[in-house]
């Protein structure tokens, strides 16, 4: 099911034969990401401890499995919010929307349960319809990655979509954060969605250069685009509902600041990669830019403010965000990284994720 392409000779012959199975990818495409010199896993490359350099070599399957963990998280969040079910269960609402019922076919690692979450009592058509659309699309991403990875796919890990949110909201400094629930109403759902979307963009962006099979790269680029559409959707909607930044739009700044802090810790003290900066996250703040005159602009995109290129995070940075710092402890990458959304850590192949 994987299209294998050869671009060395420039002919890029396309092949999507069934015979080109993922096992070939796994065995043939191992890339020493450290050799790329473009910031991937820069933190680990610094040799914080000696064994990390060896561990920081991922196959395409590893990278796709990392993405699959994130898609499990996102898809379950949106399914619960939109339909009130997890991704492996269908109900009339999910069926009506065309959301796939996912067969949890991944077996690598330890299968876990999903806790927390409930259907949001939406009252506005835009937010409800966006939630449903996003659920369907994230479900299809899970389906796609499970299908592509086949027997190499990781199991759905333990996922906490309940108490994780108030913990994160408290850490971010959102007012009354300890009682925050993204399932309470339309506005709070958008804030919950905001937590994930830009992170997905940075994770796929960071992973893009690690993939060795062109067809995988093309697919990752396509998913990256969809995650950025989602992120744009969420930011746009929050901007429409709170144009002056007095409530939910101001929360985006708090969340982005927290994410940037966790991401920075994930760098383990070394400089960010070339398409990452410190800080590497910005909410919907208004700032000044020089066009034909000095004007104000609202950060519609989560990108560096000079080149306007979206940030790229390595796996440790992403892990540190979704585990609330569990990926880094006392300046060292830990494995397995656990906490917040992944109470038992992500599921990984033999190379693990740090």
């Amino acid at each position: 099911m994987i299209g294998i392409q050869n671009r060395k000779d420039g002919t890029n012959e396309m092949a999507n034969q069934e015979t080109e199975i993922l096992d070939d990818v796994i065995t043939s495409s191992r890339r020493k990401m450290l050799a790329l010199g473009i910031g991937s896993l820069a933190g680990l490359a610094a040799g914080v401890f000696a064994s990390t350099a060896e561990a920081a070599s991922y196959t395409d399957a590893d990278i796709l499995n990392f993405a699959l963990n994130l898609e499990y998280l996102e898809a379950n969040f949106y399914y619960l919010a939109a339909f009130g079910t997890t991704i492996d269960v269908s109900n009339p609402a999910s069926t009506l929307a065309g959301a796939p019922k996912i067969t949890l076919s991944g077996t690598v690692g330890t299968a876990g349960t999903v806790s927390g979450g409930s259907k949001v009592p939406f009252t506005t058509i835009p937010v409800a319809s966006y939630a449903i659309e996003t659920a369907v699309e994230e479900g299809k991403h899970v389906q796609l990655l499970l299908s592509a990875l086949g027997s190499a796919a990781v199991a759905q890990p333990m996922i906490n979509l309940g108490t994780s949110f108030p913990a994160l909201a408290t850490a971010a400094g959102i007012p009354n954060g300890s009682s925050f629930s993204p399932y309470a109403n339309d506005d709070d759902f958008l804030v919950g969605a905001y937590v994930f979307e830009d992170v997905g963009v940075t994770a796929y962006h960071g992973a893009a250069s690690l993939l060795t099979v062109p067809a995988n790269l093309a697919t990752a680029a396509g998913i990256l685009a969809v995650e950025a559409y989602h992120a744009g959707l969420i930011r746009t909607t929050i901007n429409y509902l709170d144009p002056t930044g007095t409530s939910i739009a101001s929360y985006t700044n708090l969340i982005s600041t927290l994410r940037a802090s966790l991401s920075q810790a994930g760098l383990l003290g070394v400089a960010p990669g070339p398409y990452d900066t410190n800080p590497d996250d910005f909410g919907l703040a208004t700032f000044s830019v020089s066009l034909s005159s000095n004007v104000t602009a609202t950060r519609l995109t989560d990108a560096d403010q000079t080149n306007e290129i979206a940030f790229a995070r390595n796996t440790t940075q992403v892990l540190n965000i979704v585990t609330g710092g569990g990926a880094v402890n006392n300046g060292r990458a830990v494995s397995p990284a656990v906490g917040v959304f992944f109470p038992a850590g992500m599921n990984a192949g033999p190379n693990g994720f740090k």
Partner: protein, 338 residues
């Protein structure tokens, strides 16, 4: 005028192409979908190219986007220093901008103005980034025709009830601006997706791929803004009749699908690289903000030829200029080859 006639003729039959949305995508192998699209292009593009040529092609598109958004946001375009030819560029002549009705969009709220400023700033940043990355190889800005929105809208079948056919102007109002932005944004996303597969292994190692991926993401943020805004404002208005811009946007998609049939590469022949906007009227149906495969929700890729057909406003193979680029693009890819 020949171009306009051609556009109109093409527009007449557009529906049959759009009817095939999703069919081809559904028949395409899972992970191979976008790979097929991007790989086809390189095998049918009979020109030798370098990574710099790929980035310069993107630069042509960024010049166009930057001029559109800068005029819409501020009433002025790129500064001369942002349009010059690098010393090693085979293209030497800096083009001119045909303004037509281009002007700062009137009647914006403060929040809308801040977003327009942001998009304009970001597109200019992309121009500057690519020019910086290309150094002496950077091509100059080609001639750009911002008055092409009128003929394009006419070909798409967009009519304004109050002022009649042919009067569409994206600089008239915020809502019409959204339609103007809609013409470009999904195309920019798919152009970068398609271009990613053209970058050499050396270019990947040099960081070009990561840069292109990051710009791709920003273009998708923009597209998300445009599509979310049109959808949300249509929902607020209550119907497509009350908010004709949603219909206009879908007519643009129809036209884009029609124009790209000149490229025989799948999946464009069925128009399946378009996702029409929908107008949800209850709490139980999805919107269609994201433009992506209905099968696996992977974003589309367009070939260089497909992009050129759209910005030239011509489905004809062998065309080197037209539409938004009256003198063509400053690119080795300038002529459509499929």
């Amino acid at each position: 005028m020949d171009k306009l006639t051609e556009l109109l003729n093409r527009a007449i039959s557009r529906r049959k192409f759009v009817a095939g949305v999703g069919v081809t995508a559904g028949a395409t192998a899972v992970l191979g979908l976008t790979g097929c699209s991007s790989s086809s292009k390189s095998s049918v593009t009979p020109v030798a190219y370098t990574d710099a040529d790929v980035l310069n092609f993107a630069l042509n598109l960024e010049y166009l986007e930057a001029q559109f958004y800068l005029y819409a946001a501020t009433g002025t375009g790129l500064q001369a220093a942002d349009t010059t030819a690098g010393s090693a560029s085979p293209f030497k002549t800096v083009g001119t901008v045909t303004l037509g009705s281009a002007a700062a969009v009137p009647g914006l709220t403060a929040a809308q103005q801040d977003i327009l400023n942001e998009i304009a700033y970001e597109e200019r940043a992309h121009v500057r980034f690519l020019r910086s990355a290309l150094g002496t190889a950077a091509v100059p800005m080609p001639s750009i025709d911002l008055s092409f929105f009128g003929p394009l809208a006419l070909a798409a079948g967009i009519t304004k009830v109050a002022t009649g056919a042919g009067s569409f102007n994206p600089f008239d109002s915020f809502d019409d601006f959204l339609v103007g932005g809609f013409i470009f944004e999904d195309v920019g996303v798919t152009a970068y997706s398609g271009a990613a597969g053209l970058i050499s292994a050396a270019g990947v190692a040099a960081g070009y791929l990561t840069a292109a991926s990051g710009i791709l993401a920003v273009e998708a943020y923009h597209a998300g803004y445009i599509r979310t805004s049109i959808t949300g404002r249509a929902i607020a208005a209550g119907s497509a009749i009350a908010y004709p811009q949603i219909t206009a946007a879908n007519l643009v998609e129809d036209l884009r699908a029609t124009l790209t049939v000149g490229d025989s590469a799948a999946p464009s022949t069925s128009g399946s690289v378009e996702t029409l906007l929908t107008l949800p009227t209850n709490l139980n149906t999805p919107s269609a903000i994201v433009a992506a495969s209905p099968t696996n929700a992977v974003g589309f890729a367009r070939t260089v030829n497909q992009v050129l057909h759209i910005v030239y406003g011509s489905a004809t193979v062998g065309v080197s200029s037209g539409g938004f680029f009256p003198n063509g693009t400053n690119s080795v890819f300038a002529k459509t080859t499929a």
